[in-house]
């Protein structure tokens, strides 16, 4: 059973009095352990698609099932709970809480979840900081870090609750290409190590090349899933 499945999903936005279709009749299934890239130009519906998968938004029509739960059947609280337990988020502009230290930023979702002792939390947070390579900065505030370092913190934060799925919306867009590739490599490593499903959007062919599969989107419609090599080839072309 796929970890995420979308069946004939449409999403319309209201812009004043006109209806703007953002997604039209999208069907997609993502299996556990995938490292899936959603590619498309800006305005193509990437973010909308990610929002639907991320239980941040609900579809106008169709069914979105995340971790076995039909999101249209869940209320606001349950959706929030689902995000907390099942999903991890990595944002384009990192979105760390500015008043908290690196350690506290990563610890934050664990505190929301509850259940772990202080010791367990510390072990897990420090382990992840180690894994993303910024354990030396645990006590720093986000504004003392570079963009790449911040995104590493964000990855650690996304993974700290050991979610089934991590969603990343243009995680490399605000980074230079070398750092961006590093970040993608890091994500991929995490994907391989723990089998966490990663779904990320990008319009950067170099980043796409790292994906195990690519789904292209344009004008709110989804093209067929591409194999990695073909996609890589397309990216290099």
């Amino acid at each position: 059973m796929p970890i995420v499945s979308l069946e004939n999903v449409s999403k319309d936005y209201m812009l004043g009095k006109t209806v703007v279709p953002a997604l039209r009749d999208v069907t997609l299934a993502v299996d556990r352990g995938e490292f899936l890239s959603i590619a498309g130009p800006s305005g193509s519906g990437k973010t909308t698609l990610l929002n639907l998968i991320g239980c941040v938004d609900t579809p106008t029509a169709g069914r979105v099932v995340v971790g076995g739960e039909d999101t249209s059947k869940l209320g606001e609280r349950a959706l929030t709970e689902l995000r907390l337990r099942t999903l991890g988020f990595i944002f384009q502009s990192f979105n760390l809480v500015s008043v908290l230290s690196v350690f506290q930023n990563v610890e934050f979702p664990l505190l929301l979840q509850g259940g772990l002792s202080k010791k367990e939390r510390a072990a897990r947070v420090l382990g992840l900081l180690e894994a993303v390579g910024i354990s030396d900065y645990a006590r720093h505030r986000p504004n003392e870090l570079s963009g790449g370092q911040r995104q590493r913190v964000a990855i650690a934060r996304a993974l700290v609750t050991r979610p089934a799925i991590v969603l990343a919306d243009e995680p490399t867009a605000n980074l230079d290409s070398a750092t961006g590739e590093n970040i993608i490599d890091l994500m991929k490593e995490m994907n391989r190590k723990d089998g966490t499903t990663f779904i990320f959007s990008t319009h950067d062919p170099k980043v796409m090349a790292h994906a195990s599969a690519i789904v292209r989107i344009a004008d709110g419609r989804l093209a067929a899933r591409e194999a990695v090599d073909a996609a890589a080839a397309a990216g290099r072309r």
């Binding site: 991320g54 938004d57 944002f91 384009q92 979105n95 809480v97 505190l111 929301l112 509850g114 919306d169």
Partner: protein, 711 residues
Amino acid sequence: MAGRRDRVRILLRIAFRNLLASKVRTGILGAIVLVGSLIVVVGSSVLDSIDRGMRTSIQGSLAGQLQVYDARSEGALELYGGLRGQSLLEPIEDFAKVKAVLSKVPNVKQVVPMGIDQAMVATGNTFDVALARLRSDARRLEAGEGGPELRRDYAAHVAHLRRMVGLLREEIAQARSIVDLSGRDAADRRREWEALERADTAEFWDAFDRDRYASLEFLENRVAPLAMDNAFTFLRYVGTDVDAYFRAFPLAEVVEGERIPPGQRGILIGKQFAEEWLKLKNARRLDQIKDARDRRGKRIAKDEELQRWVRENRSGIREILLKLDPVKAEEVARELRPALGAAEGEPLEAVLGRLFATTDENFDQHHDLFYRVVAPRLRLYQIDVGDTITVKAPSKSGYFSAINVKVYGFLQFKGIEKSGISGMWSVMDMLSFRDLYGYLTREKAEEVKRLKATMGARELERDAAEEALFGAGNALVGESKAGRIDERALVGPERPGAPAADLAARVYTQDEIDGGVALNAALILEDPGKLRATARDVRAAIEREKLGLKVVDWQEAAGLVGQFVTLLRVVLFTAVLIFFAIALVIINNAMVMATLQRVKEIGTMRALGTQRRFVVAMLLVEIAAVGILFGLAGAVLGAGVVGLIRAAGGIPAATNFLYFVFSGPALFPRLGAMPVGVSLAIVLLVAILSALYPAMIAMRVTPVEAMSSED
């Protein structure tokens, strides 16, 4: 529940760090909250203290806790007089019954009858006083008494009078030079002048001893009226059961003299009234200058009012000269000269001129000299303890009634001695009040009518009176023989008409004191805290017994004076309300801004799985923390201010009215738990209210906001 505790901890941490992150905003909000709570704490502490002060002053000196008066009265009871002067009360005809009924109401300790009114008191002039003194000397001499002491006094008093006549003649001579003597009153004026000239001749005084009484009579009837001194003054008094009054009002005390003996007639003059109206003007002005210097830190050199008083004192010397007989005048001059550096033989007038030419440097010395040397030899008050005074007032029945009462002492109220309100009234016995008030009960009125009928007296029109009485022959003479008017039966045995001495010595029973008219009555309660419940019970008792009385609490009874605290409260409340309304807008604005700035962060938190209530709680904690921290700081600061005020000697009662309001020379605001609690509650409420809208904005932030790519 470790999870919840962790969540609360991170919530607090974020909230506090947000506060620290924007120090300017937090500082401004904090300052507003701090000032607000400071105002509330200090303001309400001061107000509560004023309230307590007024309560003490009003309840402890005149009002008691409740007051009753006749329900048919045209106006409301205003113990201290309202805007229209006297309140128009219908009398309570039978106080004894009211007392019997109301005393039985639970929690009522005492029922004190009262009749508050104004009366005129003849104060006499210096001439009259000097003449009275001389007459008493003369009486003793005529009676055959002798002795060097008496002879010396007599001689001094004669010389004193002679001096006064001399001074009066000088004064009137001056007046004559500027007055046109050809007018209608010219003949009178000339006769007066002749009398005065005669009195100022050596022959008159040489012949004085030959017929003392005739000479005195000449001076009393022909000369004394020419001295246009103060003749009478107005006296505000409370007629009451004096013993009950002192039991009911613990603040009242007699400062000079003694209490009116139980059951007897008499009056206790308000000390403050005596100071202001009866005291020798120069002495009074010295007191005022001293008070201004000592209590209000004024200086003669800098203050126009004090300078005016000094000037007036120098021109008031004549009054003192008139009051001193030659013996005393010489004593005063002899003692003052060395102290004031005057040459031997300098006349008293010049010496007194030196005494009253006070400056900041010599004031205390001169003030002391006056009271040590001059005052003991003077009559300092126009009405003094031991005098018997004549009190006149228009009675209820229309005629002018007059009574003689003995002044037993001066009355003042502890803590509010200087109050321009409480020190101004005098306390008189109930029977004298009834005589002055002159109210005829219905039975008495009937009786008078019957008597008139039996005597054949007729109602006469004022204009036709003469004609009716004398025009048509000797009808009146004939009729008046028809019946002897028994005055005692008409007005009762205790009415004036009986010799004054008898009345003054008579001891009245409690029944006599209670049985009759009163205008209002003060109820003293065992437990003043149960005022409302007792007022209800009293109303019920009045209803049951059909007494036809109205019940008001002390504050209402005090009229305008009682409204003072309420007025202050309204002012403070309005000020606080406006302040916090503005604070609300400012805090709200700042929090909205802060929330909008943090939309992305909030969106991120929501995306990560933070529930809405967490976000709202975070915002509320943030503003509540500002409220509590700075509110407390403001309260502590307020407590400090209150403490400082106390340490600095309180807020001084700059005016006599404030003396009454503060119930003492200074207000010592007391910090109650209430003001602090109230201020914190208000501050918190305002803070939370102003955070509601921002919280709503925060709640509407969706996780989608976190996704927006613009930074």
